[in-house]
Symmetry: C2
């Protein structure tokens, strides 16, 4: 069956998730989008020595890192709706890069100076010198605009942002809260592979294009973005420290379980403890903070009402 | 082929991993053991109302919770060796329990008083009222005795202990450091299912029997226990807070990668960031502290030298 895909290129990138930015594309949901994205250095880092030229300043309100492509105005989206973004496909560019720094990461001081490596991606494998790693493509930044002030694409919040959640990948539906008319949707910051925790603060940073399906659920916004895969419900949150982020994501999942299973808070707490998993999205100890998710198995996948 | 299995029952349980305790069993590695274990309340909690009778006091040096069965004296084991424990099979009892408390867990104050539920385990499913959850059997406590003072079985350390690591399950080889002649090996605290993080501090606490294969690697002790599965190397650590535990486990994995791949610290850091996963074992905010693991894919499983 033939149908339309709305295409948006990466000729312009944004360093802010900005409710005031004019839309680069308008589309009526449900719809499909094909969006080009740049890597964390906007495609300008092609040799290791380019790092010093492209390093962003975090003194800026909108550091020039982790750009997103957008905004897309979703016709009909109103504050209080949920924008449901299904990831249909992720196509990666031919090479990415990884970077380790003295002052970023779960460990600090491992290296004396920034080390950058260009990593070709060939036939589904990342080439790291003589080593080969299978790709695990995911989307680092996905967001709708916040209601009031613009937020840098490097940051994470109730609007989504730089969630660096490995589950934002093909097959997943990301539920984002709509806070402004038209939603103002952005996407960017692909990784060919990124470990849970992103220990050094860098995955295989890479550009590419993502094929997405957008739908609206009227009045279904939750406070934080949440995800749905074939097998799991996933809540997500971010905060300066791990404990606080984990606490928010856990409370969100308890609320979801209460709604879906009709169980008491005590039973939701017990169910989460025996079958839910607290997982680390990103914990690289920068000012970006800690990003955490909580996964719980779905009722129709090995978790069945009796 | 017929062979010997050394059997040890649970008629006596230990609340301390104690280098001075006389062995209950002696065996020469390599050997197979079948060890019976009790649940976290030593099999005495059979109705929800038993909870008050069985609640341990954490004012005790060795709180009467999470008992282990042992010690097993491994003939020939010397300080500096690694005791490699392969989990061949876990057979669970017919029912377990779960417990949520006002003052334990990633969230506190969810309930006003302790709530306990008896959970039948039937045909591979945990029965939680009308809900059914597939079992995910694992071993919560595994340890060799520390060199100096005994440590309560509720606690975690360089000797292993209450690691609550979901990867300590069938197929995994746990490498424990030998600190005293004969190793003094203990095992206990099975869970029919426990989420990563053990959000309330309780999994499906259950007794059972574990079938293990023990081997010695002379002089191969590392500072902390580590694990090997078919596909992954896994380091593990514990500390009062998440950050410190994650840091120790990350440094351990960087050292392993340096040895096995011959890469520089910077490259190990980068590889970990793009392909290693920081995962939460247990983070229930009690005095037990935070237990964290770092997983890295093995070279022979989708991660191939070129």
């Amino acid at each position: 069956m033939a149908h339309t895909i709305h295409f948006l290129d990466r000729s312009t990138v944004s360093f802010a998730i900005d409710p005031a930015a004019p839309p680069r594309l308008e589309a009526t949901a449900p719809c499909e989008l094909m969006i080009e994205t740049h890597d964390a250095r906007s495609g300008k880092l092609r040799r290791p020595e380019d790092e010093t030229l492209t390093a962003p300043s975090f003194a800026d309100r909108f550091p020039r890192t982790n750009p997103a492509t957008g905004p897309v105005r979703v016709v009909g989206a109103e504050p209080g709706d949920a924008l449901v973004v299904e990831v249909l496909r992720i196509d990666l560019d031919d090479y990415g890069f990884v970077m380790v720094k003295p002052d970023a990461g779960l460990l600090q001081g491992v290296v004396n100076r920034t080390e950058t490596k260009i990593l070709p991606v060939i036939d589904g494998q990342v080439h790291f010198d003589s080593l080969r790693l299978p790709i695990r493509p995911m989307i680092g930044v996905m967001a709708t605009a916040p209601a009031d002030e613009a937020i840098g694409t490097a940051y994470i919040g109730r609007h989504g942002g730089n969630m660096d959640n490995n589950r934002v990948t093909v097959g997943t539906r990301v539920h984002l809260p709509v806070r402004v008319p038209g939603a103002s949707f952005y996407v960017g910051d692909l990784h060919a592979s990124m470990g849970d925790g992103e220990i050094s603060g860098s995955g295989v940073e890479i550009g590419g294009r993502v094929h997405l399906r957008l739908a609206l659920e009227k009045g279904a916004a939750r406070e934080w973005p949440w995800l749905e895969t074939r097998d799991h419900l996933i809540t997500t949150a971010a905060a300066p420290g791990f404990d606080e982020a984990a606490e928010i994501a856990t409370r969100s999942m308890m609320a979801l379980l209460g709604e879906r299973l009709g169980v008491s808070p005590g039973d939701a707490f017990a169910l989460l403890s025996i079958a839910g998993d607290v997982k680390v999205n990103q914990h690289c100890r920068t000012r970006i903070g800690s990003s955490v998710r909580v996964e719980f198995p779905k009722l129709n996948a090995g978790f069945i009402r009796g």
